[in-house]
Subunit: 413 residues, 2 copies
DNA sequence: AAGACTTTCTTAAAGGATCTAATTTATTGG
DNA sequence: CCAATAAATTAGATCCTTTAAGAAAGTCTT
């Protein structure tokens, strides 16, 4: 048996005894949820209609919400044939969240408000040649500068979410390993970040975060069951099921880099051949194109795509062979998960082009369910967007919890 | 966007306004849940401790529950130093559920009480040569006879769950197709069964039900994230994620019979070669063993296993080749889902033996996460067990709902 | 055998939350 | 200027839960 979905948090509150005080919390949540979803200002009457609660209840709850600062009173609006309504608005700046996408070479840091709206962003080179502790200390300095720049009071940062390029044990908040970060094996990132930032910390695999980002405001919008396939030097994937990330029992779900692609590879070693990552990653593609060595290391991929589009047979062959493997993996994921869309990302699919077309063709040949194959809409920003989304949810949860406490205290006196 | 998890039911009740009457229902549920989980008799005091509710509340709720018959009053128990407690018991015979596992050749029918305890079971040949309507009418006759035999009043059947050998569209209650049942394409089984039995009907794919059965009281007990791989003439699988079945967007999740096993098969047709079912199903295994034709059709498989165990090279080769494909598929499912166990079932894995051992070996070679590979503990009874489990849950849900209504009416007068 | 103590369950009283209905407040329109 | 309308608050009734006190039915000790 496994602990709950969410990482690094003490067990959720005790299922709560159901006395009357509980009701107030429930109804406050209801009002708050409506408020968060409304884009602009609204009146009490609108809340009454949207929540189905009575006018007195909404009145009391909104009063509390305005008192605590979660809602902002905007004064009266023009009348519509009677007493003028008072407008109010969800105060998205009541609290803030931070996101850190720790990439192999570059690290992205961002701040957002309670709605997840990005307020500030910065890209820095990932500190190299240092251990995890120092790396995180460095990022702490950058983040605090960013907070000052965005005029965010330090005590208003309710959550910080970090994405790391490797599987994460959510129960302990540990990065199991990260092939692209030197010396990152069993690193207790959660603890390190908590020590640095003194607030709620959540960590998550970067591909998972990318999928959440794409689902939130990218290519997978509206697709509650979907998958993300990341292909760069490494290959990984993420699976969303009914709107929830699937992690797996060992937090290794979606690690399709290890997928076996043919029976004859069953007995072979991983480092050498036989698994998807070594057969279809960027390095394999490079190896398949004879002229790759002639191009400068930073240009060969772009050159390959160009050549393929101009009809070069070698380039096409390299692409087709790679696409067949990736398409097969994509179709196999679809066979098991049955998503409505699969999003392709990573540097191999930075933008639509011959590779994507080739993968799509293979998928269409072998897949038995009609799912879309899309290219990441957010690109390298996807994991960061996922961070802010997760942070937003966590922060909203904490606001609700805080609210419940203050409501109970209110009724004490 | 997709409808909810559960099949063929109108939308769940309107999230319920949260006035006081709601509390009573919540607390009644709490008491009921404890009662259902207690194996034998219990006292009010035990309920108070288990639920955390106050004595008066438990008193009122139990009174209602006894009045409606959900709990049975067992009179007083011997004193333990004070006033004698009154014992009571969950009345598992308050309502009943039926399960039908519609197999290609045989159909299993069973009845169970509210705890899912099987009360009667019967195996009949699946009516053949008739259409779905007549088939279901035939089964109706058998089921009603079974109910009479088990002394179950017809109006106490709260739910009936049917398993079918093919994917099911839960939104419409339609069997999309069933290769082993003639003429079963887009059959509205839900509607047909409802017309026959006049009670709540749920339908579900048989492999999914088998997995639920194994999770409930078979090989997958305690494994909330797991998978079932069925290999017979056809090949299919089911996936359980955090205790919930995964269906997929088109209700085709786990249809791994279509899985592509090597890049060179990408362009080939399904009926002929190239997908897991044609490469590794029972027919393929038979084709791989030269001496299969010499054995009688009903015996060849047993003979193959015998020969393999006696060291026959041809038999071993046939088994190894098949096992490598199935092991590869198993490992690939594990790569994506990351379960803690995968259960093998179907006639190819009717019991432990050389085939299972061979699959286990392949899996151990290629899988990167440490999951168990087990053989179905329930065998051909697994889908039926799943029916009763699902039926039990649905029936309990309906009892709770009915209770809520009667509680509300109670407070009216 | 009688009174003290236990255990179980019920009744009484208090507190909190919700709802409907009535009232207040502020404005439009004839 | 007064009626009608719309928004929000106040008053009163209902419901549910809890704590506290009481009743019921024993056991146990002196």
């Amino acid at each position: 048996m496994r602990p709950s979905q969410r990482p690094g948090r003490a067990r959720t509150e005790d299922a709560g005894a159901s006395h009357s005080a509980h009701l107030r919390g429930l109804n406050a949540d209801r009002v708050l949820n409506v408020a968060i979803d409304r884009p602009g200002a609204f009146t009490r009457t609108e809340l009454i209609e949207a929540t189905g609660l009575s006018a007195p209840t909404v009145g009391i709850v909104t009063m509390s919400l305005i008192e605590t600062g979660v809602l902002t009173d905007l004064g009266t609006a023009p009348s519509r044939g009677g007493r003028r309504p008072t407008l109010m608005e969800f105060n998205a700046r009541y609290a803030f969240v931070a996101g850190i996408d720790l990439g192999p070479t570059r690290t992205r840091l961002a701040l957002a408000d309670l709605r997840g709206q990005q307020l500030a962003m910065e890209i820095v080179p990932t500190p190299s040649g240092v251990g995890p502790e120092e790396l995180i200390a460095d990022l702490g300095v950058v983040m605090r500068a960013l907070m000052t720049r965005a005029e965010i009071p330090h005590d208003r940062l309710l959550a910080i979410v970090a994405g790391v390029p490797g599987p994460v044990d959510l129960a302990t908040g540990t990065v199991l390993y990260a092939p692209n970060l030197k010396g990152w094996t069993n690193v207790p990132v959660l603890r390190l970040l908590q020590r640095e930032f003194h607030t709620t910390v959540l960590i998550e695999n970067d591909v998972n975060l990318a999928l959440l980002g794409e689902h939130w405001r990218g290519a997978a919008r509206g697709h509650d069951t979907c998958a993300f396939i990341f292909v760069g030097t490494g290959i990984g994937s993420a699976v969303l099921i009914d709107g929830t990330l699937h992690h797996g029992h060992h937090y290794m779900a979606g690690e399709i880099g290890f997928m076996t692609m043919a029976p004859e590879h069953a007995g072979q070693d991983y480092g050498t051949r036989g698994c998807l990552e070594t057969l279809a990653g960027l390095d394999a593609l490079r190896g398949r194109w004879p002229r790759a060595a002639e191009e400068p290391p930073s240009r060969w991929f772009a050159a390959l795509l160009e050549q393929a589009q101009q009809g070069d047979a070698d380039a096409r062959a390299a692409i087709d062979e790679t696409a067949r493997l990736i398409g097969m993996a994509t179709a196999n994921v679809a066979t098991i998960v049955d998503p409505s869309i699969i999003v392709l990302g990573g540097s191999m699919f930075a933008e639509p082009g011959p590779l994507v077309d080739a993968v799509r063709l293979v998928v269409r040949q072998i897949a038995r369910t009609p799912f879309d194959v899309a290219v990441s809409a957010l690109g390298k920003e996807a994991p960061l967007a996922g961070c802010l989304l997760v942070g937003r949810m966590e922060a909203q949860r904490r606001v609700r919890q805080r609210l419940k406490k203050s409501l109970n205290q209110r009724s004490m006196r």
